[in-house]
């Protein structure tokens, strides 16, 4: 019964310890008393443990159906399935914030534990920075947005989790997204440490490389889960609507992707130092913004932000402090890095990365502009506007095509520069292959839309250029080590996990892009009324409405239609779209029936009865949607593979360092 008080108490302890974590290292460094820094470290461990207890306390309150806890009463009910009770923690604003703070606590403890002896100069600042962020969150949680509040008159039953959140996609979407958002706090803190210490070397990049990769992977996965959820739950046949809430997670992803590439340039060539600092600070700031905005709904409407004026003002102040402090440090301290290495040639890997960064950041800006423009218009004056999908299709998609083209050229380039002839010799095969494919698509598949043609061209271009590069490397290995094809290629992939993991990610993105364009351009939609026995033809499919009956779930009842889908080749499936009514919610919820195939999805939404035996249906044939999910899986596998790369890479690159003299950490062995 007292779990929530335990959680509350643990959070108070965590706040006190977070303040210690923030202050003690400062004292330690200023007074040259290393013991104080150690105090900060212990405080960070206590924060992690205390927040873990807090999260456990809230989760147990959910499991125990303790409706005297306001947060539980608002986000759970007696009939809520166990799985959703376990995860209802992030079903609302208050719990999500606690979850965020908990993740940050854990990450901080891990980072301190891992980097304590290897980065003695950075760790104190890292402790302070992360302590400050956690403090900011815990103050918000404890004073303005508490999940620990008790109700004086507890209801008999809770009001249940929002039915739309009762879906596996939504169970995984927030935690992955947050693992990504929060993960960027670590490289962010290391970057600030570099700025504060005035030791802007490559140390922070190297130290946080895996944090960056990990966070990027989590953020990507989280975004895909969100899209998957939208596709399955919202019932409009699509998965991405350029909704402000979606954009809020996508903008940091774009910037993080730029950072992921440009930090390689710094690692190898000691260039883009300032730029990298800028990117990681921006990524983390946008992550913070994303966290707050999504939950408070500022972006879709300013008004919700102010739903609790105190909370809004506090969040704004917190953001202001974080942004001004970090960007201020960047502006006033980054002059310490003097010798930037200059770009030697436009035909080099670093130049490709430069342009990749340029376009990714511009892409992020276009999305940001589209997202904030309505807010600006409303604030500055009068009109309320929405910026819809057409804007993003016109602006964002072409920019992404350029990024894809750069991705295709990437493997052919070498660091520092190369002869134009050599590049031309390498580029013509993929170019030719891509052109042939695009031509075939134009003449035989009847693809007419320019985006379709360009997409097929680029997909093939990237795939062939990556394949050729890999093939050449395997051949070299086979000759050098006198091995067969399979041992050689497996050796190669194992030896250079980072490179080939990256290739896998690239191919995943290509597959996803094909999915995006396919489902975006060739979707077929029908909205009609069917009586039992009626059929409708979608592509190769003949869909027959065979019956309707009621079904019962643990906390809902539904009308379920039976649709038999058949093809000429004898494939036969039954689709069961539902119209659900949850016990505690009067609003019906649509449960679309989706049948996924390699080339297309059949997606059926049940509407309302129009008359006795006639029901309204909305049907979609969505080509290539499964490619989007498949590509995302490839991407996740690729990044996991990259993460397995040990530290060997780092020691190798020291040798060819041509940049400014490295200030190698003395304690770094």
């Amino acid at each position: 019964m007292m779990w929530i008080e335990l959680a509350h108490f643990a959070t108070i302890i965590a706040l006190l310890m977070a303040v210690v974590q923030l202050m003690a290292p400062v004292v330690g460094v200023l007074a040259l008393r290393p013991a104080w820094v150690r105090v900060g470290r212990q405080a960070a461990y206590v924060v992690a443990v205390a927040l873990t207890l807090a999260v456990i306390g809230v989760v147990i309150s959910f499991l125990n159906h303790d409706f005297s806890v306001k947060y539980v009463a608002e986000h759970s009910s007696l009939s809520l399935p166990f799985f959703y009770r376990l995860t209802a923690l992030w079903g609302g604003h208050e719990g999500s914030l606690l979850f965020w703070a908990w993740l940050l606590g854990l990450y901080t403890a891990m980072a301190v534990w891992r980097h304590w002896s290897s980065h003695p100069h950075s760790v104190p600042v890292v402790l302070s920075v992360l302590g400050a962020v956690i403090t900011g969150f815990l103050v918000l949680i404890l004073f303005l947005s508490s999940p620990f509040e008790r109700l004086p008159r507890p209801p008999m039953d809770g009001r249940d989790l929002n039915p739309m959140l009762q879906d596996p996609g939504m169970v995984f979407h927030p935690p992955f997204l947050y693992m990504g958002y929060v993960g960027f706090a670590i490289p962010f803190a290391f970057a600030l440490a570099a700025l504060v210490n005035g030791r802007i070397t490559d140390e922070w990049i190297v130290a946080t490389r895996r944090w960056t990769l990990f966070s990027w992977a989590m953020l990507s996965t989280g975004i895909v889960f969100g899209a998957y959820w939208a596709y399955h739950v919202l019932g409009w046949g699509g998965y991405w609507a350029w909704d402000p809430v979606e954009n809020a997670s996508f903008i940091p992803w774009l910037v993080a992707t730029a950072f992921l590439h440009s930090n390689m340039v710094q690692e190898r060539r000691h260039m883009f130092m300032r730029w990298n600092l800028f990117l990681i600070i921006t990524t983390f700031s946008l992550s913070l913004l994303g966290t707050f905005l999504v939950r408070s709904g500022v972006l879709s409407s300013v008004h919700a932000f102010a739903s609790d004026p105190g909370r809004g003002v506090y969040i704004l102040m917190f953001m202001t402090v974080v942004l001004l402090a970090s960007f201020g440090l960047l502006v006033f301290r980054s002059d310490r890095l003097k010798s930037e290495v200059r770009l030697e040639s436009l035909l080099s890997t670093e130049a490709a990365f430069l342009f990749n960064n340029l376009f990714l950041v511009v892409a992020a800006l276009t999305v940001l502009l589209g997202t904030l423009y309505p807010l600006a218009m409303e604030t500055l004056g009068s009109a309320k506007v929405t910026v819809g999908a057409p804007y993003y299709n016109k602006v964002f998609v072409p920019i992404m095509f350029i990024v894809l083209a750069l991705m295709g050229v990437g493997p052919m380039l070498v660091w520092r520069g190369m002869q134009a002839q050599r590049l031309l010799r390498a580029v013509w095969i993929p170019l030719a292959g891509a052109s042939i494919a695009a031509g075939l698509a134009f003449s035989f598949l009847g693809v007419r839309h320019p985006y379709g043609i360009v997409c097929i061209f680029l997909a093939l271009f990237v795939a062939v250029s990556h394949g050729l590069d890999w093939g050449a490397a395997v051949r070299k290995k086979m000759i050098a080590a006198k091995q067969g094809f399979i041992p050689a290629s497996s050796n190669l992939i194992r030896r250079n996990k980072r490179r080939y993991g990256g290739f896998m990610v690239h191919l995943g993105i290509v597959v996803m892009t094909v999915g995006f364009v396919g489902s975006g351009l060739f979707q077929e939609e029908k909205e009609l009324v069917l009586a039992q026995g009626d059929f409708v033809v979608m592509g190769d499919w003949r869909l027959t409405f065979t019956g309707i009956h009621s079904v019962q779930g643990s906390n809902w009842t539904a009308q379920e239609a039976l649709i038999t889908a058949e093809t000429d080749h004898g494939k036969k499936i039954t689709l069961r779209p539902q119209k659900r009514v949850y016990n505690n919610h009067p609003m019906p919820a649509t449960e679309a029936a989706i049948s996924s195939h390699f080339l297309e999805d059949i997606y059926v939404v049940l509407g309302e009865p129009v008359s006795d035996a006639n029901w309204a249906f909305r049907l979609y044939r969505n080509p290539l949607v499964s490619w989007v999910w498949g590509g995302a899986e490839m991407m996740a596998l690729g990044i996991l593979w990259s993460l397995l790369q040990g530290r060997s890479f780092k020691s190798k690159k020291r040798v060819d360092g041509t940049g400014p003299a490295l200030q190698v950490d003395p304690s770094h062995s």
Binding site: V298, A306, P309, V313
Partner: protein
Amino acid sequence: MEYLWKIVLLAAVLFILGLFASGLGNDSRNIPSPLIGRPASVFHAPALDDGPEISLESFRGRWVLVNFWGSWCVSCRHEHPYLLQLAKNTAKRSDFVMLGVDFKDTREGAKGFLQALGDPGYRQAFDPDQTIAIDWGVYGAPETYLVDPQGVVRYKQVGPLFNGWFEKIALPLMEPKHENR
């Protein structure tokens, strides 16, 4: 050139922060009520405390603050201390009276609320089936209306009243009218 990026960067950061700040201030929850500037819809309703029936018309000639609340409403809890204080501070004014409307509620619930948090002492109408609230176009609780001596709605506050609300918002509306008369 060297300083340009710094200025641009800081300006951009400040701009975005400013945008949010003004978005915050520009609290568009003040949905302009179609009732403002129009006669408030009159009502006769039972009192929460089983006293005589309450009628809005009986307050003609005085400014009336009508506060819609319910014991189920969390924000009302936060608002309550201010109402207590306001009732105490304005008790001596002859031109101003406060009135509560407890809607969609049960008598026990509402009485429990007042017992627990303090009874401000002004009259409370009881509106269990929300008829007054619907007539007045109440979207949520708490909502507070300021009705002038002629029975015309002059102001609508969506969400809790805040400290200093009376001085900042009600008085300026009330005073010029005095001078006119």
